[in-house]
């Protein structure tokens, strides 16, 4: 799940700790807490805005929803989608499910890990990519499929993947 004990990730989360404030979390909770079963929408809203659900947001959410911290933490840790640490500049999801396996998905997974030199749930040393497994993107007739940030890409080959990585890393350099 999104929990990581990687000390590098811990350092990263300290570095960007200024990206969020208790006020942001309070705003998001206040905007949604009237809804029945509001917790998932609230967590989505926080993650969409901050990039992850900061651990220090848990007591704030708990207090405002009048639930225990353990309740909130339990929900965050149950779902694969929620992260408690920031991801790299690009979130890269690789489909590991059967239909993609049938079209060379396993070989693509190995290529991706080798090219980026990371395993699942890890971020590359240059902080460009966080690699996450996903089980089906609904693009199963045109696999293997990956998702980069919010774009799904089909029929991914090793070459196509390398081109994509090059394009994403150079455009980021240009922006700087």
């Amino acid at each position: 799940m999104s929990e990581t004990t990687d000390p590098k990730a811990a350092v990263k989360s300290m570095l960007v700790a200024g990206d969020w404030s208790p006020e942001i979390v309070r705003q998001e909770v206040a905007a949604l807490q009237h809804k029945p079963g509001a917790l998932l929408p609230i967590l989505h809203a926080i993650q969409d805005r901050v990039g992850y659900v900061p651990e220090d947001a848990v007591p704030i959410i708990a207090e405002m929803l009048q639930q225990t911290r353990a309740d909130i933490h339990g929900v965050i840790s149950f779902y694969h989608h929620f992260r408690t640490h920031p991801s790299g500049s690009n979130l890269l999801e690789v489909c590991r499910a059967e239909a993609c396996q049938a079209r060379g998905g396993r070989a693509l997974e190995r290529h991706v890990q080798k090219r980026l030199n990371v395993g699942y749930h890890d971020t590359t040393a240059d902080n460009e990519f966080t690699l996450v497994p996903v089980y089906c993107l609904g693009n199963c007739a045109c696999g293997p499929s990956i998702r980069v940030n919010n774009d799904i890409i089909g029929r991914v080959t090793s070459q196509k993947f390398d081109q994509l990585v090059d394009a994403l890393t150079t455009s980021v350099l240009q922006l700087k």
């Binding site: 499910a97 396996q101 609904g138």
Partner: protein, 519 residues
């Protein structure tokens, strides 16, 4: 002069460059001073032809595909804007294609033809006719029509929808009731729910509203998996527009009854496709499976009577109401009535969406529609119905697509996903993956599933390493039996099905040591 061009906007077309095709087309049109009327239609579901570009000509809509962005300039030079047939990618009138001609599209009749978000387009193609009829009927009248149709839930369990609705209708009226649409579509190889939501969202809205009127529910939730952000976007916009025109809201179709809809996003948990786990998730909790009874129809969301149906079940309802339950029931065989949306995926040449009356053989689907494997190699195994279902060897491919016929094989149709594998597949790896997937996605409530799946991976690894092979095979068999018999829900209860099918039909692969990882 204005030229009307259609370029699909569903996830698959986009994943193959449809947006860049649009850009290129616009540039080419600008250069030639042609005014483009660009319509982003849904996909017709012939995925090997995506991006499929259609041009409106005086003699009808003609198609080109698959169009890669790099080919657009060449196509335009070859007369694409005039529908010129002199190009290898020219396909003519796509609705005459044998892939479509051989289908019985009731639910997917409009898909790919219309602009998904354009409500006028929806209405012009028969949309809301079912809801208008339902709005004039009694609650019991609507439920009776669904019963006549013989519609069984398309989410996997194949439970009759009419009976479920009756149960909710029979609960006392003076309480809040809900309609929940299960749009979690977690099975690998399935995308029909996604196609409904992305390419014909009003059909789902119409189906849910009819369900709401039928059982006396005033609020509905669509639980969309977080991998389907485009579906969420499409639905949100469609709901907004349907409210403006009075198809949702306080006075549905002017009959004085109220129904509202809200889309909720899941968060990446396969088990939240299981209906009680989904309800827990909607309530803002961990998605732990509830034991039944009580049934969700009696105590569902927030403890209230709730209809939980799959997207395809609800999407079939507008047709049933518009044309009558009998018209629907006239398709199919035995107790499997109506049509089955089949999703052809994996290592297949012509993957896509096929809607057929129940009863066509699996081989027909693989050969007549699929056209063999994508790689051109011999096909070896087919998994029908998602990650919890059996792998079928060639000797079983003549089975008709019918719930009972598949059950007899110890297999299932599930949500209609068909995933093909060629002869390079390592079935030992597939068996191992079934256990690994369960270990990753188990809700953790009961031991056979939570611990059994972890042990399953270990035992398969020992078998493949040649360690005490005979004893470990017996152990694996027993472990599978324990999971089948001792699990609370079908996650742990069916994970053994793919594993057992590999033990039975592909034992040589299970025994072979895993292939060396090529660098």
């Amino acid at each position: 002069m204005t030229t009307t061009i259609y370029v699909p906007c569903d996830t698959t077309a986009l994943s193959l460059g449809a947006d860049r095709v649009v850009q290129k087309l616009q540039q080419a049109a600008d250069q030639k001073n042609i005014e483009l009327h660009l319509i982003r239609n849904g996909s017709r579901g012939l995925f090997w032809l995506e991006p499929l570009v259609e041009v409106q000509t005086p003699y009808g809509r003609v198609a080109y595909g698959p169009v890669e962005p790099e080919q657009v300039d060449e196509l335009v030079s070859a007369g694409l804007f005039d529908g010129n047939p002199e190009h290898p990618l020219f396909l003519g009138d796509i609705s005459q294609h044998s892939y479509l001609q051989q289908q019985q599209r009731l639910t997917f009749a409009r898909i790919g033809i219309t602009d998904p978000i354009c409500i006028e387009d929806y209405i012009a193609h028969g949309g809301f006719a079912g809801l208008k009829k339902a709005a004039a009927l009694t609650t019991q009248g609507i439920v009776d029509e669904v019963k006549v149709s013989g519609l069984r839930g398309r989410g996997g369990a194949a439970f009759p929808a009419g009976i479920k609705w009756q149960t909710v209708l029979d609960e006392p009226q003076n309480q809040q009731k809900y309609v929940v649409c299960n749009a979690d579509e977690g099975d690998s190889g399935t995308f029909a729910d996604r196609l409904v939501m992305e390419c014909d969202p009003y059909m789902l809205i119409e189906g849910m509203t009819i369900a709401g009127l039928a059982v006396g529910a005033t609020l509905g939730f669509i639980y969309v998996r977080s991998e389907y952000l485009l579906s969420q976007k499409m639905l949100d916009e469609a709901i907004r527009r349907a409210e403006v025109l009075g198809y949702l809201g306080d006075n549905v179709c002017g009959n004085g009854r109220s129904f509202r809809l809200e889309v909720r996003l899941g968060a990446g948990a396969y088990i939240c496709g299981e209906e009680t786990s989904l309800l827990e998730s909607l309530e803002g909790k961990r998605g732990l499976v509830r034991s039944k009874p009580p049934l969700p129809a009696i105590k569902g969301l927030f403890g209230q009577p709730t209809v939980v149906n799959n997207v395809l079940s609800l999407a079939a309802v507008p047709y049933i109401m518009a044309h009558g339950g009998k018209a629907y029931a006239d398709y199919g065989m035995g107790r499997s009535l109506g049509t089955l949306p089949i999703q052809l995926a994996g290592n297949i040449k012509h993957g896509g969406l096929i809607e057929l009356a129940f009863g066509a053989s699996l081989r027909k689907v693989l050969e007549d529609f699929g056209g063999g494997t994508f790689t051109g190699r011999p096909m070896r195994a087919v998994q029908v119905g998602g990650p919890l279902m059996a792998y079928l060897p060639e000797s079983q491919w003549d089975t008709p697509m019918d719930y009972e016929a598949f059950a007899k094989l110890g297999a299932g149709i599930g949500h209609g996903g068909v995933v093909a594998f060629d002869d390079t597949v390592d079935m030992g790896e597939q068996a191992r993956f079934a256990m690994e997937f369960c270990a990753a996605e188990s809700c953790g409530k009961c031991t056979p599933c939570r611990i059994g799946s972890v042990r399953g991976v270990e035992v398969i690894d020992r078998i493949r390493a040649g360690e005490h092979r005979d004893n470990n095979l017996i152990l694996l068999q027993e472990l599978c039996e324990t999971m089948v018999d001792g699990s609370l829900c079908a996650m742990g209860g069916m994970t053994p099905f793919p594993v057992q099918s590999v033990m039975k039909h592909f034992p040589e692969d299970l025994m072979a040591s895993s292939r060396p990882v090529e660098a």
